[in-house]
């Protein structure tokens, strides 16, 4: 990708987050889109590129009254929006469109206009995983963990510590779903979901959405808000079957996506001021810290325990409270991107003072896919 050539000029979440029984899935997309358009000072007719997941880009464009010259319906789970940013940057650089709207909306809790979790019994997942009782992410995303803990010498207390520190961040965020402090014991005494996972190690289930607007860096300075530049992006996929991951102690998709983004951005890990790692479950930030190269394998648990990722630490991580405490409608990637943009704009509730570079890493479909976006608030 051409370096530093694209910027975020509009970003917003839905007007409300949490329980929104009076809005359907596409209604949430539209609410987020209108908020992002207002943030950018644009009308739907100013948009010529659309991308979304969980809803068709055709339905989105029609619903909002947009006639695009570029559309992307890449749908690889919760990190789809990271991939949309990457694809939009390429499309803008190639001249396929000028101003791209990326939306997310999901009625994860209220299930208004939403479809269920099902796999065709003739698909590979339907044949080789579904018969064994997997239901939803808490029984699939979690399957590699006991092997990971054993290989690394980590413990369930290490998983609980991730949730405890993210709750500390959430306490600073008025929009977070859960703000009350919790302890490691609280996490380990919360209801059992799927051993070794307790409820407080699993993400919320909520309603909400978010949207981003991107354009070329050249045009970005003409918008009302301070632009947030895209320095580098990465993406990869591994397998739809969690049982077929190459190695249960590391995500190949994380490694490939992260390296691509860092190489494109031309930055070092020591340059990173702020980090988002999609935390549908408490183990993901540990995998992410290792697979993105912030720590060596086997060092992630101690890195978190020693409060490097906590308030005042040297690598603030998941500063909105994350999927565990902030918000999680099913595809959390958009909320991670929103927090990175807020941090780069200097308007986050738990603002990291002086932060200039933010890395935002997402995962999709039980370790199946990954997308990474590196942002900066400094003009190229």
């Amino acid at each position: 990708m051409k370096q530093k050539s694209v910027a975020v000029v509009g970003a917003a979440e839905t007007t409300r987050l949490g329980k929104i029984p009076d809005q359907s899935l596409i209604g949430l997309h539209a609410d987020a889109a209108l908020n992002a358009l207002a943030d950018a000072g644009l009308k739907p007719s100013d948009i010529d590129g659309v991308a979304t997941a969980g809803e068709s880009p055709v339905a989105l464009a029609h619903y909002l009254g947009i006639t695009p010259t570029w559309a992307d319906g890449t749908s690889v789970g919760g990190c789809s929006f990271m991939l949309h940013v990457r694809h939009a940057a390429a499309a803008i650089n190639e001249g396929l469109c000028k101003t791209v709207l990326i939306t997310h909306g999901e009625s994860g809790r209220s299930r208004v206009g939403a479809s269920g979790f099902a796999r065709a019994p003739s698909s590979l997942m339907g044949q080789f995983e579904m018969p064994y009782g997997v239901t939803s992410p808490p029984t699939m995303f979690t399957v590699p963990v006991l092997r990971y803990l054993k290989a690394r010498g980590y413990t369930v207390e290490d998983l609980a510590t991730v949730a405890v520190i993210q709750r500390e961040w959430a306490a600073k965020n008025p929009r977070a779903s859960f703000k009350d402090p919790i302890t490691v014991d609280d996490v380990l005494n919360s209801p059992m979901i799927a051993w070794p996972f307790r409820m407080l190690m699993c993400c919320l289930v909520t309603d909400g959405g978010g949207a981003l607007i991107l354009t070329s860096a050249d045009r970005a300075k003409d918008f009302p808000r301070k632009p947030v530049y895209v320095l580098g992006t990465g993406e990869s996929v591994e397998t739809p079957l969690v049982s077929q991951m190459e190695d249960f102690t590391t995500s190949k998709a994380f490694r490939v996506s992260g390296k691509k983004a860092f190489d494109e951005a031309g930055i070092a890990h020591s340059d990173v001021d702020h980090l988002m790692i999609y935390d549908a479950f408490a183990h993901l930030p540990l995998y992410g810290l290792e697979d993105l190269g912030f720590v060596e394998r086997g060092e992630a648990a101690a890195f978190v325990r020693e409060r490097n990722t906590a308030i005042g630490g040297r690598l603030p991580m998941n500063t909105n409270g994350g999927g565990l405490s902030y918000m999680h409608s099913g595809m959390y990637g958009m909320y991670a991107l929103q927090e990175s943009v807020r941090q780069m704009r200097g308007i986050a509730p738990a603002q990291v003072e002086g932060a200039k570079i933010s890395v935002c890493h997402g995962v999709g479909g039980m370790f199946a896919a990954a997308g990474t976006v590196i942002f900066s608030n400094e003009a190229p």
Binding site: G126, M130, Y132, G133, V134, T139, L146, Y148, A194, V242
Partner: protein, 136 residues
């Protein structure tokens, strides 16, 4: 209890399900490269793309590689907590299964414990492979 969700074989996987019905765990391996055995079934080698592959009976021996114990079973899986496990077969590939024939507890389900395949008929067409602790 509602009937268990069962696989619908496709032409590419039919040999595997026929094998289960006949009490044999069938794997495939490439005869062109050193990639060896692979799973799930497909009519070509996922390492080198060659279509020169063969089906063969696996030993049925495995170790417990990783698992969870689901405390909120799906409606077709009964009401008691049950394992959702990944085993590593002696031939190399891993597969998802349930560990049966022992307590569904962290104490009884030790990583790396030896397991042996066991088959349970579900319908005239479908028999599912499960794994049970190997006898001394």
């Amino acid at each position: 209890m509602s009937p268990r969700l069962l696989p619908e074989p496709t032409p590419e996987t039919r040999h595997f399900w026929d094998g289960c019905r006949e009490g044999e765990l069938r794997l495939q391996r490439c005869t062109e490269c050193e990639g060896g055995s692979y799973f799930p079934p497909r009519p070509f080698c996922p390492r080198c793309g060659s279509r020169k592959v063969e089906v063969y009976p696996a030993s049925g021996e495995a170790i417990l590689y990783s698992y969870v114990i689901n405390h909120r079973p799906r409606p077709d899986m009964g009401t008691e907590p049950h394992s959702i496990a990944v085993v590593q077969l002696a031939e190399g590939p891993r597969m998802m299964t349930n560990v049966v024939g022992c307590a569904q507890t962290p104490e009884a389900l030790q990583l790396d414990m030896p397991l042996k395949v066991t088959f349970e008929k579900q319908t005239d067409d479908i028999t599912l492979p499960f794994f049970t602790p190997a006898k001394g």
